[in-house]
Amino acid sequence: MLRMMAVIPPVFRVIDMLNLSNLRMIAVSALWSGLWAGLLLTAAQSVQVIPTLLQAEVYEEKAAIANHMPADSGIDQTNQQEEEVWQPRNGWERTFFTALANVSLGVGFALLLGAASAFRGGIGNWRNGLLWGLAGYAIFFAAPSLGLPPEVPGVEAADLKDRQVWWLMTVFDTAIGLWLLVFSKTGLNKLFGALLLVSPHLIGAPQPDMHNSAAPVELENTFIVATAAANALFWLALGGLMGLFSRKDLEFKE
């Protein structure tokens, strides 16, 4: 037996160590859930999210012309080549790429849901899926939005790197905190979870020195409400579908 093990190349031993059918089950259900939830999100966005965003862009362009600055379309505002960088044309092309981004985010989030739930023996059914989806909404949308609300283009914000760091920290803390609150058995761990939940907000999100915006405040507020609703629908659909598609519990050797 030992002699045989030594002959098998290490790569095959790694594959043998992994239950491929469980990985495939998570991946396939994530693909389908992400596809449908992403398409649903694209439809939901067309109600208010995208119209608000396009309206804000008009203000942004007006402000850019007034300031003789190129409209914000890329990474570095001082980059002279900025205007030559490809961007999807307004209309179906832009909608197509937004849908593609939504589906990619959907599949990515669904893979994370599948991975996290695997540690609890799978999601089980669509009702549990709604709860997992609700957790995803809290972790990836609600918690970061408390400090960094979704913004329309043309709003001045703090340094991008600082905001990304705070966003990632908040997502990470909220995920661990929520997990401890829900699944841990001891009061001390639950308390630790609650502390993790609130700590990013005690630290506070990075804010710009001056809150300048090309778009009127009403537009900013409409965008927050619209994205909150669209993302809630997206996450509930994503969780519910993951529960539906992965109803069969992960295979375990008895």
Binding site: A27, G74, Q87, L105, G108, A115, L148
Partner: protein, 66 residues
């Protein structure tokens, strides 16, 4: 104490521990890594083309964007 059932139970416990790794933990870690890679590309990558393509999706999801 050294009866056969006890020994079998013990062996089962050991094999089920390695099965948890194989059936649950490794597939979950791989799926999670795949998901993070996708989210990075769609939500965080700063390549100008990727940013412009995913622009509206990022704004809608509340990702920090430009």
């Amino acid at each position: 104490m050294s009866s056969a059932p006890f020994l079998i139970d013990n062996a089962d416990a050991q094999s089920s521990r390695s099965d948890v790794l194989k059936d649950r933990i490794l597939p979950a870690l791989l799926a999670g890594a795949l998901g993070l890679a996708l989210l990075y590309g769609a939500g965080f990558a700063e390549t100008a083309q990727l940013h412009n393509a995913a622009h509206d999706g990022r704004h809608s999801a509340g990702f920090p964007c430009h």
